[in-house]
Symmetry: none
Subunit: 123 residues, 4 copies
DNA sequence: GTGGTCTAGACCACA
DNA sequence: GTGGTCTAGACCACA
């Protein structure tokens, strides 16, 4: 079973990147854990090694991995990636709330609509 | 002066589409108002008429415009488009809050971080 | 005539990246000027379009270019890239002076040796 | 504890080479002192003996070591290596200053920026 | 075996 | 025509 969605408009390398970002941020993959080798993962996903390579290169650039020539790719530790992801999510959140407000939709109602329930007791 | 941003990674036709969606949802353009002609808008934006045409086709497909043979394109009225946009925003919002929760970020904190202030008085 | 050096241990895409970084930083290429197309440059350097593509992607990531789908790649303006380069050079410089000091070489002498002449008059 | 940094992008053999070059240039290791055996060092660094061998071969090629069949590897004396290193550093220094000048950065300012303070008293 | 680079060539989105 | 993605396959450096 492969978790790549060929119907998805996002390119394959991006789906791979995204998937592993989540696994690392969730802590499913721990620091210094070895990633599947480029070739092995390519076979598993029945895609091309170059495509996996591109995903790994991207993950390395974004600080999620480090690669050791001749040995493999490994998960990088550190809290940087969490802070970075947090900032990204906050940014996207702000953009949506702003977009709603711009066209006359009450952000509070929107939040309610999407199942968000504010705890009004404490704080 | 054109409001198209060539440095934007989004294709031009999408920027046009997005722009007009906002203008219509905000009510700047009212139902049955005539849109600028494809050629005129293309000249104004110094872009290709094909590109404007594509944007208009997309807007029509999404229910924002209707076109009258030989006369031009007009803004479609109705509450459908508002409901539709609202659903889209709610969906994106839910996705982000879920994404945050998944990796152990408290949605409430994220909302606070992006400047969201819950009004605890009414409601 | 191609300025790529196949004897150079650095990969081709990096030589291309480096070359254009200098041209942009020197101001030989001005903001919003169009870069040669991927295919054309590939032919000119008798290398593969993919290799040029990789160089352009890297330049874009580093803020030297922006690319417009269907139109081409363009030089990005701004002072960021200068500040960034300056910081990079300062860092490399500090590293060398430190390295010299560590093994008992007087940095001042080293500077003299490499043709550097301090102006002792003013300042 | 090993001083090899697996997160370093440089290959392991190069890190070993670099390390010993510094130790020899600093005089921590003196001429004719015996180097650790390939196997012992490999075990100490928990790396492959081939990797250590490669580092030693490189050090020998660059004139930092000499090997005696059946006895081991020894530090080579002489001022050559210092002169050589000095020339290398001077070269890299000149390259950076030139690079700065090329793109309109004043070398003197760059030196100041990286903490270099010219002593105007003597000389 | 492992990653990194490169070539040749295809196909798609966009202008 | 222009960039972006992907495949198939080669070759090299490194452990």
């Amino acid at each position: 079973m492969t978790w790549i969605n060929y119907q998805d408009s996002r390119p394959i390398y991006e789906q791979i990147t995204e998937r592993y970002k989540v696994l690392i941020l969730k802590g499913v993959l721990v620091p210094d854990e070895q990633m599947p080798s480029v070739r092995k993962l390519a076979m598993e996903l029945s895609t091309n090694p170059n495509t996996v390579q591109r995903a790994y290169t991207e993950l390395e650039r974004q600080g999620f991995l480090y690669s050791v020539r001749g040995r493999g790719n490994f998960v990088r530790g550190g809290t940087d990636i969490h802070a970075q992801k947090r900032a990204e999510l906050a940014g996207r959140l702000a953009a949506i709330l702003k977009e709603a407000e711009d066209i006359g939709i009450d952000p509070a109602q929107l939040l309610a609509e999407c199942g968000w329930k504010e705890n009004t007791e404490n704080d």
